[in-house]
Symmetry: C2
Subunit: 475 residues, 2 copies
């Protein structure tokens, strides 16, 4: 199926204004539209200007917009906060950019059922701010939680720092009201802990990157807020020794930590240097950051002692404990600033998101070292070891010209993804495919697998109107 | 789309024998085929004989069978252990019954990644028997775990007694190899804790009741085995007081129990009488059975004390603690024998599986009392209160003729389901729709919702070959 869309005309814009009101349409104003042309992907080539931006107030308006778009054959790209990392919210074929920014209400906090009902434009962390005094929390924890919208989290099935214990976004999505690509407003799921009434449409929609429907109401499960937490910063002589400890924490230690973050030598050394951090790390070749939380201090203490002893018994050089907010923050700062630290080397980077079975992390890191040597680029490797999800980040060698960088980057990515696939892994754990990784899908999926997805897309969006050009091409 | 299938001929049977071998085909032997004509639904009208039974050994054979079935236009009904409760494994249009009973190998226990890879015909509890010495367990816990197959659990997205803490089957399914209705062998997911590479086909397939694909390999997540457990049996004067405690355990108590089971007065009194159980329950109008587990005895003790105090402070009449295997078993026996106890009243029963938001359980039980009065039938109500999932069971009044029973049952079910829908609930929490509840789907879903499912089914199974007549009709 070739993509044949029509141009956005004044006639269509007038109809959009009829639906959402003139102050909620941006048209012929390049400067204001520019904000909607990109997400947080650094590379400029993934940006694309929309022809018109609309900001609907509710499902009914979105339904009318989708019917109009099908009638006029105009693509519609839904957008939450635009903090994505795979180009998912970028209107790659122009057309209508549909922003949910006005749909930003927390509609209900249901303390009896431990559920919240929210609109897609709510900032994720706002939910936690509203419920923490009730002793509750929403366990989805993307690293961008202070700026991202919950609608975007659902679209990408966002992961983050606490997935090892709490799972990813999808585990907490119990119901969705949404507008289908053809304009019908439908609801699936609800405030029900179990539901096997027909297909699990809710979880087909979670992670569909806005290609199968536009969420208009989201029913979230809440949990009791843990009241105690502690972090361990553990130094190891090499990657193997560090990674071998990860499953042991869960099997021998019988503890599921909240987070097990990994940093390779280049990552934590760059970050520590960048932050002027004084932790002595000279001997270390790998670092784990292990967080535990629980309902009381004694339990957390006994758990971090178990984990600390287990690390030492399995070859750790040093274990630092942080059990108060200040030291916990100090430790996490090292983890969060790896990307920033490498921007000193070069602003040109490709932030990757590969995932492998946990036990294959050492093989991945070894294979990565060969790619680094072969192409002479730094690729710091860090991320969510407890999930096997590593944000290997290809950084431009400052000696390279931009031409050289653009020439080698696809080769580096192809080799990295092939290595990942050989190790039973895949190319995205939490950032999504979007437009950025679409052309690499064939490295991890064959035509039969892609066709299962294409058939579903075609069945629900026969005109390929909603967020086209993402995940896979239809032809 | 009207259902137009062809008859099974000797020619087709010969081709099936070529694929799986003659000893794995049952044909023209009514007695042996009868075993494959029903599941555990009591009512005879939901049974239907297959025309031929085949027992393939692997995905390749299943692929050939599916291609043949499409060519000859013969329906194929997949079957695991046949322990289902909604007619999902019954060949309602005859044709080919495809049993996975020979595909019963545990292929791999991967202790480093905390994953197991199994075939669909493995008995669920066998997995736990194999891994318990390694300190691991599989957290799916359907009540039939000693006889059901894991493939059936995946097809129904089985729930069970531990869903409040551990979630239902779907949470532990990380990868599937399966044969599509059109015969392609595809794999989705794998030993990866996170994966957002394209649509979440794995969780579309979980709970699809064998209508979208036949699982041939299942990748399961394992957890560290909790080493301590305790149960509380708590008596309340009425349903409201009992149910009000349920969310408080999680919010005020900050504890997520393994199970919170509910029994109404008629349920536990019938069961206690049936078992000659001596717990004095005369004063009680409702009962909760609360289980907690954890990594050590002290933690479990401190948690059951918290919960016990909370129950007493919120109106419990009495709290009995069971912290050893014998007394825990004694308590669970009361819960497990409710259905058996009512068989003394009548063998004719309709075991239901409604689910409502937890806070609406008292309203449901009140509404149910009106239905009981109106139709003069006993409907004991018990089940998974922590999930809002109640197995209200309509029992034939022994004074009724069978004609009267068949006349009133659909009316009772319709009123019960309408009540459920009004309370934000739905008609199946864990047993599935199958053929048994198909005709009631319109009480909880409109045509737009059903059409989303139909379009997906049609896209993946254009000839409606795989398990037709389940969940919804295609026309």
């Amino acid at each position: 199926m070739s993509v044949r869309y029509n141009a956005v005309t004044q006639e269509l814009v007038d109809k959009l204004i009829d639906i959402v009101g003139s102050k909620n349409v941006i048209w012929d104003d390049q400067e204001r539209m520019e904000n909607y042309a990109h997400d947080e992907v650094a590379e400029k080539e993934y940006a694309h200007m929309p022809d018109v931006v609309v900001k609907p107030a509710d499902a009914k308006e979105i339904s009318q917009i989708m019917k109009l778009a099908n009638e006029y054959m105009i693509p519609v790209t839904p957008r939450a906060a635009g903090s994505g990392l795979s180009g998912g919210a970028v209107p790659v074929y122009g057309g209508i950019l549909l922003s949910v920014e006005r749909m930003n209400r927390i509609l209900e906090i249901d303390k009896e059922n431990l559920m919240a009902v929210v609109e897609p434009g709510v900032v994720t962390n706002e939910i936690n701010n509203v419920i923490k005094d009730d002793g509750l929390f929403y366990a989805g924890y993307p690293m961008s939680l202070e700026t991202c919208f919950i609608g975007g989290n659902v679209a990408e099935n966002a992961g983050g720092g606490k997935a090892i214990k709490y799972g990813v976004t999808g585990r907490y999505i119990y119901g969705l009201e949404m507008v289908m690509p053809t304009g019908e407003i439908v609801e699936f799921g609800g405030k029900r802990v179990k539901d096997v009434t027909g297909y699990d449409i809710v979880h087909l929609m979670v992670g569909a990157e806005g290609t199968l429907g536009i969420y208009t109401k989201i029913v979230l499960k809440l949990l009791p807020l843990p009241t105690a937490a502690a972090d361990l910063l553990v130094l190891f002589k090499d990657v193997d020794t560090a990674i071998n400890v990860v499953p042991k924490v869960m099997t021998n230690g019988r503890i599921i930590p909240t987070a097990i973050e990994f940093m390779d030598e280049s990552s934590f050394k760059a970050s520590c240097q960048y932050l002027n951090e004084t932790i002595p790390v000279a001997e270390a070749g790998a670092m784990l950051l292990i967080e535990i939380d629980g309902e009381n201090k004694e339990l957390v203490e006994s758990e971090y002692e178990t984990i600390g002893e287990l690390c030492i018994a399995n070859g750790a050089i040093e274990v630092y404990v942080a059990d108060n907010y200040t030291t916990i923050e100090r430790i996490w700062k090292i983890r969060r600033n790896v990307a920033e630290a490498f921007k000193v080397v070069s602003p040109h980077q490709s932030l990757e998101d590969i995932v492998v079975p946990i036990s294959n992390i050492p093989d991945f890191v070894r294979g990565l070292a060969e790619i680094i040597d072969k192409y002479d680029v730094p690729i710091p490797c860090y991320g969510h070891a407890g999930d096997g999800n590593l944000h290997a980040t290809v950084v431009k060698n400052p000696d390279f010209t931009m031409e050289r960088w653009h020439e080698i980057l696809p080769k580096v990515l192809t080799e990295m993804y092939e290595l990942t696939a050989q190790l039973g892994g895949t190319i995205s754990g939490e950032h999504g495919i979007g437009s950025k990784r679409k052309h690499y899908m064939r490295l991890v999926m064959n035509e039969d697998q892609l066709n299962v997805m294409r058939r579903i897309k075609k069945a629900l969006d026969p005109n390929n109107i909603l967020n086209p050009g993402k995940i896979f091409d239809m032809e």
